[in-house]
Symmetry: none
Subunit: 234 residues, 2 copies
DNA sequence: TCACGTCCTTAAGATGCCGTAAAGATGCAG
DNA sequence: CTGCATCTTTACGGCATCTTAAGGACGTGA
């Protein structure tokens, strides 16, 4: 929508200290910030202003944060970064599965926050401009030709098994986004049960061996402990 | 067709909320929009108005969406973008195999929709302006003369059976693209069922014997396990 | 330090797909 | 009707892929 000059960011946070801290930081870096304190106001603002990105605290006084995500996702693909004071993995995972793009756990550094905002804005602008015709994908030495149905690294064709290719495409189509284990297994196997996680790890291993420069220290596919994986733009 | 000033878009959608949302967005961006709610009306409109692009919801009250695609494709090459609430691969594949050009899953962002519309209109205008396809094809020692209807290897004519020739042409017209088993069998036999895959393998064998330097280690036609085949540019 | 959970890595067994040959079916020309 | 070319079907060995299991590395909290 309004990708013009300054991106508008909707900040949903009931803790006023954090709200001021974050909004100041965003403001200083040239973003326009709307601040709201609860879920209802968040949804209202998202509808009326169509922000370029949403930062959402899960612990809201009125509605459960997950529900806010679900509502917004039903009509919009705007990037949502979740902030959570809770350290339990289950919250993050639920949020990501509901459609969140990224998450931050309190306390977090302002630098990290800004980096994630940049990454998510970049990804969403990519997605809306290339979108379809992006029948190809590039990231560092990696190149995927979706239409042709294969991938290359440094120009040489990779011999990927069907599952490896599916997995790679899934990660590529969600660059810079954390994908949960269950999301990935659902996408690849349809119905997933626990033991697919073991398989997923093995496929991760073989895929990394084929696309990473140093498979023991992966840069392209990063693992998020207890949560899932994420392809990083190089 | 009428590629003049404003492209005409036919919107087939029974959910009035979505219909209004989409048609408003398209209208704002300078497209002329026809709205219909069912498959019968869609086909009628496509016949009488000859739209530049069709947006088709798969879940229609009267006819199955796939059937609408097949009907329209029988006489027109107009770009068709499918909209569906279903996320399963099988639906996408069925729609695309039937002749759809692109696929959107609900919920989708308006920006993405517009991007896809632009991309497909551009592509179709490209296709209609180029129009003149090359009447010959060369790849390494292989040479095909489409107009004359025969192929040569190292200058000597190959004696190919009708089916072998069809198969070769199909692969040649999609060089560097992976063609799925079902796509190939559809193209060659029209309607395909399971056992055609066995035949396909046999034809692959005989074709390779005739065009490959070393049929046991094929270079020109590569197999993608569990997916299909692909002709590689040498 | 120890126990615990998560992830990585490897290897072996099970499964399913592919290539291949050969026999049967079909269609057509003489 | 017979012979030939083409296509289809079947069967099986070999191999790519997937799954499963087990051991080790690493970090975290008691």
């Amino acid at each position: 929508m309004n990708n013009a000059a300054k991106p508008r960011i909707l900040l949903v946070e009931d803790d006023l200290t954090v709200q001021n801290l974050v909004s100041t930081a965003l403001d200083l870096h040239g973003y326009v910030v709307s601040k709201v304190c609860n879920g209802q106001a968040a949804i209202m603002d998202a509808v009326s202003h169509g922000p370029s990105l949403i930062m959402l605290d899960l612990g809201l006084p009125d509605i459960d944060g997950i529900e806010v995500i679900t509502k917004i996702r039903s009509w919009s693909a705007v990037p949502i970064i979740v902030i959570s004071a809770r350290t339990e993995d289950s919250d993050k995972i639920a949020a990501l599965d509901a459609g969140a793009d990224d998450y931050l756990t309190k306390p977090f550094s302002v630098d990290e926050l800004l980096a994630r905002v940049r990454a998510n804005l970049r990804r969403s602008s990519m997605a809306s401009s290339e979108s379809t015709e992006a029948s190809t994908f590039d990231n560092g030495p990696l190149h995927i030709d979706y239409a042709a149905g294969y991938a290359t690294k440094d120009g040489r064709e990779l011999s990927l098994t069907p599952t490896e290719y599916k997995l790679l495409v899934l990660l590529a189509k969600n660059v810079d986004k954390v994908l949960t284990h269950t999301f990935i297994t659902h996408e690849i196997w349809g119905t997933s049960w626990d033991s697919d996680l073991a398989s997923l790890r093995v496929f991760m291993r073989t895929l990394r061996k084929k696309i990473e420069a140093d498979p023991s220290h992966p840069k392209m596919i990063q693992t998020h402990m207890g949560v899932g994986y994420r392809m990083q733009r190089l």
